[in-house]
């Protein structure tokens, strides 16, 4: 079952395009990465999903309900962390949990304390005296505390230290294992790569990829370094089609592998190879190519 379904979703801001004909489906229990450079339409999509903005065209549904008409009902099962989190300056953690609990009709005090302990946040400090990182932690606690079926996190790791990021990732993984869905928006590949099992990439308001990381990894090339033996002094062979030599220096090749490793090994087996280094899938280059391609050119 898909928790989020968007079909032909479009939104314009006057002449400027927000998003255009976006199709998205987020299966239940997925850690879903939503990637794109600044201004690509990630936040617009999230704001439509949460009913802050009305879509100009198409439809968006969460848990089978319309995101505009049933927005408030949907949010019973949704936890949301805004990208630019602002808290009421007078509010401290305890007060926030009391108010949010009152709105949701739940007693969130105990669960909130537990999360605060885990994330290392003092709930007695007022927001006006908190650092950015502390405010982000409180925002995360408020998004997580009612154990929502769907978590929408808009660039949640900004201003979090690496230890806290890892702690958060662990928590999100454990939620996903229990069937919760995480919609994780970011413009940084590395954090999505370490956490998510599916990724959608947005560029200039259009979806350019929506695949599992497994598939993307397979598609991404690997860097390969081959050092040829000095003896016998024969010239290196010409490379096969799946291997593109980027740099040739003395008897060393720096190449991009576009095919399976097995093919490469089979090709190398009879050749006078001194050493081979096969790198991890180069997702960064793949993503950069998605980001920089001309509008309209699909993945």
């Amino acid at each position: 079952m898909s928790v989020i379904v968007a079909e032909n979703l479009s939104k314009r801001y006057g002449r400027r395009m927000g998003i255009e004909e976006l199709d998205l489906s987020v299966p239940e229990g997925t850690l879903f990465g939503f990637l794109g450079p600044n201004g690509s339409g990630k936040t617009t999509t999230i704001r439509i999903l949460l009913g802050f903005l009305r879509a100009g065209g198409g439809s968006a549904r969460i848990l089978g309900r319309d995101c505009w008409r049933d927005s408030h009902r949907i949010k019973r099962d949704v936890g949301y962390l805004p990208g630019d989190l602002r808290l009421y300056s007078w509010m401290n953690g305890h007060g926030a949990l009391r108010i949010f609990g009152g709105v949701r009709g739940l007693d969130l005090a105990a669960a909130g304390r537990e999360l605060a302990e885990r994330f290392g946040l003092d709930l007695t400090v007022r927001a006006r005296s908190m650092s950015r990182g502390m405010r982000q932690k409180l925002g995360l606690i408020l998004a997580l505390v009612h154990e929502p079926k769907l978590l929408i996190l808009d660039e949640p790791t900004s201003s979090l230290d690496p230890l806290m990021q890892e702690l958060l990732n662990e928590h999100l993984r454990s939620l996903a294992r229990r069937g919760h869905t995480v919609f994780f928006s970011s413009h940084t590949l590395s954090e999505v790569e370490h956490l998510c099992d599916r990724v959608a990439i947005l560029r200039e308001g259009r979806l350019v990829a929506d695949e599992s990381l497994e598939v993307l990894r397979r598609r991404a090339g690997r860097e390969v370094i081959i050092r040829w033996k000095a003896e016998p002094a024969t010239p290196p062979p010409s490379p096969p089609p799946f291997l593109r030599v980027r740099q040739q220096q003395d008897r060393q090749w720096r190449c991009a592998l576009a095919g399976p490793i097995a093919e490469l090994l089979a090709w190398l087996a009879p050749l006078p190879v001194d050493d081979v280094v096969i790198g991890r899938p180069d997702l960064e280059s793949l993503f950069r190519s998605y980001y920089s391609r001309q509008a309209g050119a699909g993945a």
Binding site: F52, D84, R86, L87, G95, F100
Partner: protein, 271 residues
Amino acid sequence: MNRGLLLKSVREVWPATLLFGLALLAVEGLLNYVFPTFYDDFFEPALRMQFIQNLARGLLGTEALREIGPKTLSSVAWVHPLVLAIVWAHEITLCTRLPAGEVDRGTIDLLLGLPVSRWQLYLCESSVWLATGLVLTAAGVAGSLIGGLAIRPELRHEPGRLLVVILNFYCLYLAVGGLSWLVSAASDRRGRAVGVVFAVLLGSFLLNVLDQFWRPARAVSFLSVLHYYQPMAVLRDAAWPARDMLVLLSAGLLLWLAGGLLFSRRNICTV
């Protein structure tokens, strides 16, 4: 009514309400004491001056200044610019909190991320507005009664007439609030919303004053909100301004509804 939202709103508005309430109590008390007490020595001679007469006519909305005595003059306490400034400043601040204020400070995302409809938010904030209106009115009445304790009993107003003035005053509060809600619903910047409402009210006040000595203003004076609020006529003649109150109530309700509709349908952007 959502308990959590109410808790949040009350937490945010009670300090200002207390402060403005105390200020209103003090000002009302002082004016209710000063006008009747110093009528013979100061106000009666001053009212013979043309400029003061015009100003008093504008404030009180009546031509019949000769019939004013120490008792009726104290009705100025309910239309005095300082009193109106206190009540309206508090009201405009309160009514522009949602959505303009929340969008402006970026906290609207937090609010709209909760399982409450925009109408629920609007109703909750509006109920706090209505309640604080009662608190301010009560503070004004308390000030009026306290000030009255220090003057001769025959100069005090009859409770029945005072009650009608209070009702008219609250209707004025509703009309001004309705306008503030509508302007706030259409705005993303609180400062801008406050500025627009303030400008409209200032224009309304000036129109009401000009009405008394500038003929062209008379033709459009019905547009002024103060045209429908004339406590002197109530206190002096025991008039029952049902039509005025109905106009203020209808305007307030319509503007408030329009604000609610606009807020429930508009896009909310914080970036």
